[in-house]
Symmetry: C2
Amino acid sequence: MIFRQLFDKESSTYSYLIGDEATRDAVLVDPVLPHLERDLKLLSELELRLIHVLETHVHADHVTGAGKLREVTGCTGIVPHGANVGCADRFVRDGDTVQCGAVAITAIATPGHTDSHMAYRVGADRLLSGDALFIRGCGRTDFQNGDAGRLHDSVTQRLFTLPDDTLVFPAHDYRGMTVTTIGEEKRCNPRFIGRTREQFIEFMAKLNLPMPQKIMEALPANEQCGQVLTGAGAAPNDEKAIAPAQRPPL
Amino acid sequence: MIFRQLFDKESSTYSYLIGDEATRDAVLVDPVLPHLERDLKLLSELELRLIHVLETHVHADHVTGAGKLREVTGCTGIVPHGANVGCADRFVRDGDTVQCGAVAITAIATPGHTDSHMAYRVGADRLLSGDALFIRGCGRTDFQNGDAGRLHDSVTQRLFTLPDDTLVFPAHDYRGMTVTTIGEEKRCNPRFIGRTREQFIEFMAKLNLPMPQKIMEALPANEQCGQVLTGAGAAPNDEKAIAPAQRPPL
């Protein structure tokens, strides 16, 4: 398997490129729009054909590259079942598998950060944990129908039950960490160790975080597969903005 | 082997933590001073004992954490032979091996970015390429006795002769890439493909890059194992600045 972690400095987002060495099929998970050219170039250099873009959830802090990548490569856009993304080609449910050549990518329903969040197991020993589980942290639960109790269940009952040596690749890190393991998070994640479900809910309720800077732009754009909207919420000077009439059909 | 890539967003620097699972010995390569606490915490969480800090070269864009880490952990500080770092505990020459439990870290003299730069082979299949070879790029050669011809020789004769599937981890990336391979760089690195040694020298001479922002602070500090100097070149409000009398002896 080809596996590449890619970083967006502005939003501290990790995207992941998964490729099959024999078939040259590739899947991009959580691509970030401003890196479209970097990601297309990498696919071409590695002689990979993008077949799917896969989202862990509808992002509030950056605009997805899914729509543009689909336009350019003809790949399909896949999002979690229940996500408010009418333009997606496919919705995955818990346990569904997305195939990338011989590499199986299996969805694990992990709601809590949003109400339709999926983590993805890649092959036998890797987990893309999205915004459910971070390295010594977890995603916030105070918008997009977030629910701290459900996140606690997702992490402790779905992710912490995977083998301890599973490599965990999160959708964000803000301190320059790149990878962890399930065993390490079970031992060291300060959000979960020494806290009951109730204490976790109480803790999350008191975080009082500011809204993500780009939420007004990112959420409506990502509900349109990352096509940046004109009008309210759109970046006013974005040359790539697409007028409603030009948007792809639902 | 435990292997962790760590990122400093400000200078786009990668540090590397290497650990032996059996002996729990660890080596940190190119640590960045402001991440001292993050790195110490990670060592403690992974139950690793830091035995060496290893530098690929004397950095001009960030201050090394070597001195402080040595102070706190009692590790030794290792730098390339010829580096102007009087306070180092050991100088490695081409072919020397630094042992981290069962993991052998072997120095490969790769001058050109600076005159005493080392890349390090870690185990059989990984290379820490420092500032000699970047992902689709290479380090600049216009200060610290840099020499484009020597860099061309280092990359093409020492690094490009390693097995194609060697994973290459650079000391910097400015576009969010994390890893490459020798084969990929031989095929895709625009600094080297389609350019003779002479054309490479000519190209590097015309880059005309601005000086690194922190060079006046970083170079003298790194020649003192990262002890930030007071007086000229020091960050005036750095509470951790150490007065000359308190500096460790050479």
